[in-house]
Every structure is written in structure tokens, then in C-alpha cells.
């Protein structure tokens, strides 16, 4: 495990000058992930903010080989690249050890790309899929995805007189869906806990099979907060239990970071414009539902990590 100082001397593989917004979680995540890789990588992206903002022809911000095909097929496309690599390795035409990483947003991963991702996981391609989860379709202008949390104000779940709470449904637990494929490595991470993320990436790249890391990716435009607060908000998501950090290594769960003192969910909600309407009297029941859900998921996670008993005694 390299130190932060050592990492800071490594060449950045996503160059500056790309057109992502200030404070965008995606570019921070990509840079952290690429710093963690100690083998050459080939990258694929589905359609999304990251793709359109880093490759406006005739420019590219990528210093590594990179492919975008369409919205729903980054996993399948990269599985083709990885298979070609395996074919050439067998034929003795390639000497290098190469790793394959896909970076997809929640739209391209939770929703339209889920089938393609599931196929890749089941077939066992050796590649790492990173979901930078900013909890809505940000590239098209903040529409709800199945990753949008309950209560979120998106442009397709606006709070109104008839539906005051915004998004009425809970988010999909993609990390658990991926884990159900019984792949060697699955994790949830956050750019606010960079050493935790880097460690997870290194583990993921070292397994001989598919791996997946779901990384919460704050979005100043979509979540409605000042750009400089991204990391602070990413941190709050973890400290409030909204986004637990854990990993599943060959089926074994481990919670990789436990806040010493849990902060109330309200702090995370109050920091973002997308939850502002939840502060009203009539929406207090939504906040209560959210808190209840977080609590029950936390309990489930503790049980899976073999710490459930302690939780019961409390």
C-alpha cells in the first residue's frame, strides 16, 4: 500500500483541462482510482457526464487507451476488449499485463446498463467496474434514476402539491445485486476516504475475475450545494450512515470504516438543496422513513459482517 506522498508523485492519467464541473465527484474518483492502479489500464465509459466532458473531439483527457461505445454497454464493450487481450495473450502476441476498468454513472450502471453488467459478472471477465454514483441522470439535467434516494428532488421527481416528498421510492441497492453474482470482490467507497478507496481498488485489480466498486459521487449541480463542499458532503454521507463503506471479499463482508460517533441524517440532508423540501413539517414522515431504512440496512450489514450480535445487545 503506497502512502499518499508516494501517490502524489505518480503521473495523473486523467489530464487537467477536461470540461467536468468544478467540484465534480467523478473526476476526483477517476484520478484516485487511476493512481491506485499499478499495472497499465484500458478504460471504458458509457455515455454520461464523464464521457462527454473528457473527450470532446479532437481533444481527449485520457492518457490511457479508452473507449466509449453507447450508454448501456460499457461492461459488454470492455468484455470484448478483455477477451481480445486474452486471445492475444494465448497467441503470444501480447507481453504486457493489462488491467481493464469501466467507469459508469448510476444511469449507465443501475438502470440501462444493468443487463450488460450482470452478463459480464456472470461470465467472469477479469475487469473492474467502478460506478460513480451521483444518484441521478446528471448529464441530461438531473432526472431520477433507480439510484436516486427517497425524497430527492430531481427534475422528474419535483416536489409538488400532490407529491410533496419528491422521489417516493427507495433507491435500488446495486451493491447487493452485484454481490449476488458471487464475484470475488465487491465494495462501496467514497472519494472522501481516499486511502480506503485506493486500497479497495488495489484489491479489486488483484483478483482474477470481475470486481465492482460503487463509489458515491457528489454532484454540486444536481445535489445543489457549493462546489467546494463536495468532499465534505461525501464525508457526511458516510458519517450519517447514508453511504456505509464496506467490502465483500470472496463472500466475506467487512465494514471498512465505522464512524466513532454517528451524525444525524438531517445534517446530510440540510447541506443539499435537493432535500430542502424535506425540512417542511409535512415531509417529516419522509425523513423518518429514510432514517428507518438506513437503520435497518445498517443492521443487515452488521449481521452480514458477523457483528450483528453486538448490535442486538445495544
Amino acid at each position: 500500500m503506497p502512502s499518499l506522498k508516494q501517490l502524489s508523485h505518480k503521473e495523473e492519467l486523467l489530464s487537467r483541462g477536461h470540461r467536468l464541473c468544478p467540484g465534480c465527484g467523478a473526476s476526483i474518483i477517476v484520478r484516485q482510482v487511476l493512481l491506485a492502479a499499478d499495472k497499465p489500464v484500458v478504460v471504458a465509459c458509457p455515455t454520461g457526464c464523464l464521457e462527454v466532458a473528457t473527450t470532446i473531439y479532437p481533444y481527449t483527457a485520457w492518457k490511457v487507451p479508452w473507449i466509449h461505445c453507447a450508454f448501456e454497454n460499457a461492461a459488454a464493450t470492455l468484455s470484448g476488449v478483455e477477451t481480445a487481450y486474452r486471445a492475444f495473450k494465448k497467441q503470444g502476441k501480447i507481453k504486457d499485463d493489462i488491467r481493464f476498468i469501466a467507469f459508469g454513472g448510476d444511469g449507465g450502471t443501475y438502470d440501462i446498463g444493468l443487463q450488460s453488467l450482470s452478463g459480464v459478472l456472470e461470465r467472469g471477465h477479469r475487469m473492474l467496474y467502478i460506478c460513480y454514483d451521483n444518484e441521478a441522470y446528471m448529464n441530461t439535467g438531473i432526472q431520477r434514476s433507480s439510484a436516486s434516494p427517497m425524497g430527492a428532488h430531481t427534475t422528474t421527481t419535483p416536489p409538488g402539491r400532490a407529491i410533496p416528498e419528491g422521489k417516493t421510492e427507495s433507491r435500488k441497492d446495486l451493491t447487493q445485486i452485484v454481490a449476488a453474482h458471487n464475484i470475488p470482490y465487491v465494495a462501496q467507497a467514497s472519494p472522501a476516504y481516499h486511502m480506503d478507496l485506493i486500497k479497495k481498488v488495489q484489491k479489486a485489480l488483484s483478483v482474477d475475475g470481475p470486481s465492482f466498486i460503487n463509489v458515491l459521487s457528489p454532484c454540486p449541480r444536481g445535489w445543489r450545494y457549493p462546489a467546494e463542499k463536495s468532499i465534505e458532503i461525501a464525508k457526511l454521507a458516510v458519517l450519517t450512515g447514508f453511504w456505509p463503506l464496506y467490502e465483500i471479499e470472496n463472500g466475506k463482508y467487512r465494514i471498512t470504516y465505522k464512524p466513532k460517533k454517528k451524525r444525524p441524517l438531517r445534517e446530510f440532508l440540510e447541506a443539499q438543496g435537493r432535500f430542502r423540501h424535506l425540512l417542511s413539517e409535512e415531509n417529516q414522515q419522509v425523513v423518518a422513513r429514510m432514517e428507518k431504512e438506513i437503520e435497518s440496512r445498517e443492521k443487515e450489514l452488521l449481521v452480514r459482517a458477523g457483528e450483528g450480535k453486538e448490535e442486538k445487545e445495544k
Partner: protein, 393 residues
């Protein structure tokens, strides 16, 4: 030395794929293409090919994986038909736009709905503007020959386009025919090695595939694609000639059959060309002469050859095994008719939509077309511009 085998269209397509020996095959089963995937899977299981096979979860992923593999420098193949082709539509266009010479047998089958598993050309005709080269096959021999040539056509440096080898579902895919096959070594030498200019696996020269291409460059890239299609015309002819040297069977953009003997012409693509040939032979004995102009290459469209072949003809019947809803006739008809616009002396051209959803098209149907042509010649008048052959009105 030519070897003679008896195989179905699907079996011979799989056999051609075995000899092509691609680096990567990504495929998904769909009737009546399934036997290609099954037979090829057996070749993989038996170690008869070097291919890494990806048994994907959909046709969309099949084409996506082929795109990834080809961009990494692999010779990549898949096969599909009908709804499978429709599902991969989006990425079919992307494969052509990224200039990746993927080769794909398309076992022609009617598009849903309602669902129908039998032959017509609505699937591949729908993809006619996707930027893929399209070759249509009359029989199992042509399926084999076209597949081998497709590799060399698509990978030509002036072309670099994907190629669909279309053949009629069930009529050819499930019919056993006599086919002459080449030796493995002959195929290997004929197609040579595939060397891509920009590989995703070239770490020294990192390439960005599929960037955001806006109003300032997209148009130029589309213009280049148009140019590549034009470049494909002489390449298809050249490869056809080279293949003749190897196999004794030559191929052009179109095939002329009894064309010199008559001023009446039937134009058709696919297995019905065989039915037309049989009808021509039968009518010849009765003193009636009709010519056949078979479309082998539909994309790029062989306008010059069509103009030249029809120059002194009086009546032409164009047969389309697909309907183009809302258009004035089927796609082959529209393109043939448009090709004749600049000609000083134009023949009278009529359209026959036939065989949709696998409706049988027999010698009797073709005779009806010939009778119509004789009547048009006699009266100088076209009664119905677009006709429906063998349908209950």
C-alpha cells in the same frame, strides 16, 4: 483441391467461420441463426479454433463485445437475424462508424410483430443505411464464398467497414446443399492477418475510441464513411476476382443470367434468384426469354452496373422481400428506379413485394411476373406500379 460437402446454410456458415478462425466470437442464439452459434461452440469446445468465445446475454452485448474486441485489434465475428439485429441496431451503426471490419452472417428473418420466425428481408433491409456492406447469397455455396470474401473486403485499408452476409432463413439456413469448400490453409492465406492501425491494447500509443463528436467534426467523419463505401465497390470486385483464381468461382457486384437473350428483366436478391433461374429455364423451352439481374451487393449500391445491365431493356420487374411502409415500393425497387433517372432511354419498371414472413414463392409466382412483363411490353403501360405476389387481397 476442392472438397465437396453436404451442409445446411447454417452449418456451412459455421464451417466458414472455423476456417476464418477469428480471435473473438460473441454471439447469442436466435432462430434460424442458432445452429451457427451451436456448431461454432462445438469447434471451440473441440479446440479446432483459436477463438475466444463470449456467450453474451443479448445481441446488443454481442455487437458491443465485437466492437470492443475489434477496437483491441481482434478479428471479431457474430451472427444474428431479425429481432436480434433490431436489438443491436444502435451498436450496428457504431461498429460501422468506428470503422471496425466485423463480419456478421445475417440469417434473413421477418421482423416482429407479430412474431414470425420465417424468411424475409425486413431485418437487413432495415439496416441498409447503417454503414455496413451487405452481400446477399443465393445458395449455400454463396454463403460460404461470401463469408470468406467478406473478411478481405471489410479489412481492406481503403474500406475498413463491417460486412453483413445475408442469407434466407430456413430456405437456406436449414436446407442441405452441395458445397465446395477450400482447404483451411487456402482460406488462411487468402484472408491474411488482420492488423489494426489503432489498437486499444497499444499502450505506447493510447487511443480514444468514440469521443464526443459535435457539429465541428461529425459531418466530416460521416463524409469519410460515405467515401469508404464508395471505395468498397472496386474492392468487392477485386476480391471477387482474386477469389475466382483461388476457387474457380468468381463474383461481381451483380450476377447476370440469360440477360443478353431478352429485353425483359427480373431483379432479385437472395435465394429467390434460384427460383427465377429455374423459371427462366422452363420458359426458355417454351420460347419465352427473360433475363435475371441478381443483386449480390446491395450496400454499396451498384448503380453503374445496374445502369449498364438495363441499358437496352424494355421492361424490368424488381422483386423485394420486404415492405417499406409508406414508401412507393420496396427498397430495391426504389434504388433501381432512381438509378435509371439519368438514363436517356428508360425501361418500364414495376415492383413486386413477395414472400413476407416466409410466404412461399414458387415458379408459378415468377411466371405470373413474366406474364405481367409481357403484357407491359405489349401495351407499353404499367397497370400497378407496386404489386403483391402471393398475398390474399
Amino acid at each position: 483441391m476442392a472438397k465437396i460437402v453436404a451442409m445446411t446454410g447454417d452449418e456451412i456458415a459455421a464451417e466458414a467461420m472455423r476456417q476464418i478462425n477469428p480471435d473473438v466470437v460473441a454471439a447469442y442464439p436466435i432462430t434460424p441463426q442458432t445452429e451457427i452459434v451451436q456448431n461454432f461452440s462445438q469447434f471451440v469446445a473441440d479446440g479446432k479454433v483459436k477463438t475466444e468465445m463470449i456467450r453474451v446475454e443479448s445481441e446488443h452485448s454481442a455487437m458491443s463485445a465485437c466492437i470492443g474486441a475489434a477496437a483491441a485489434g481482434a478479428r471479431a465475428m457474430t451472427a444474428t437475424c431479425a429481432n436480434g439485429l433490431a436489438l443491436m441496431w444502435e451498436v450496428v451503426y457504431i461498429a460501422a462508424s468506428y470503422r471496425l471490419p466485423i463480419v456478421m452472417p445475417v440469417v434473413n428473418r421477418a421482423l416482429s410483430g407479430p412474431i414470425n420466425i420465417h424468411c424475409d428481408h425486413s431485418d437487413s433491409m432495415g439496416a441498409r443505411d447503417s454503414g455496413w456492406i451487405q452481400l446477399y447469397s443465393e445458395n449455400c455455396q454463396e454463403i460460404y464464398d461470401n463469408l470468406i470474401q467478406a473478411v478481405k473486403i471489410g479489412e481492406n485499408r481503403n474500406v475498413l467497414l463491417p460486412v453483413m452476409i445475408c442469407f434466407d432463413g430456413f430456405i437456406l439456413s436449414h436446407a442441405t446443399e452441395r458445397v465446395e469448400v477450400l482447404e483451411d490453409e487456402e482460406v488462411k492465406n487468402f484472408i491474411g492477418e488482420f492488423k489494426i492501425e489503432h489498437s486499444l491494447l497499444d499502450l505506447e500509443h493510447p487511443v480514444t475510441y468514440g469521443p464526443l463528436d459535435l457539429f465541428d467534426y461529425y459531418f466530416e467523419h460521416k463524409r469519410q464513411q460515405v467515401e469508404a463505401m464508395e471505395q468498397a465497390l472496386p474492392v468487392i470486385k477485386q476480391v471477387g476476382k482474386e477469389y475466382e483464381k483461388l476457387s474457380g468461382r468468381g463474383y461481381g457486384l451483380v450476377e447476370k443470367y440469360n440477360l443478353e437473350a431478352s429485353d425483359l428483366v427480373i431483379i432479385v436478391a437472395g435465394s429467390t434468384a434460384g427460383t427465377v433461374k429455374a423459371t427462366i429455364q422452363e420458359l426458355k423451352e417454351k420460347g419465352i426469354n427473360v433475363g435475371l439481374l441478381k443483386i449480390r451487393t446491395f450496400r454499396p449500391f451498384p448503380q453503374d452496373e445496374i445502369q449498364e445491365a438495363l441499358r437496352d431493356k424494355t421492361c424490368v420487374a424488381v422483386m423485394d422481400r420486404s415492405a417499406s411502409f409508406g414508401a412507393v415500393g420496396g427498397p430495391i425497387f426504389l434504388e433501381v428506379r432512381s438509378s435509371l433517372y439519368e438514363e436517356k432511354k428508360k425501361p418500364l419498371v414495376v415492383n413486386y413485394i413477395y414472400g413476407l414472413g416466409g410466404r412461399e414463392t414458387t415458379i408459378e409466382h415468377i411466371k405470373k411476373v413474366v406474364n405481367d412483363l409481357l403484357m407491359i411490353k405489349k401495351t407499353g403501360k404499367i397497370e400497378n406500379l407496386v404489386n403483391y405476389l402471393g398475398v390474399r387481397e
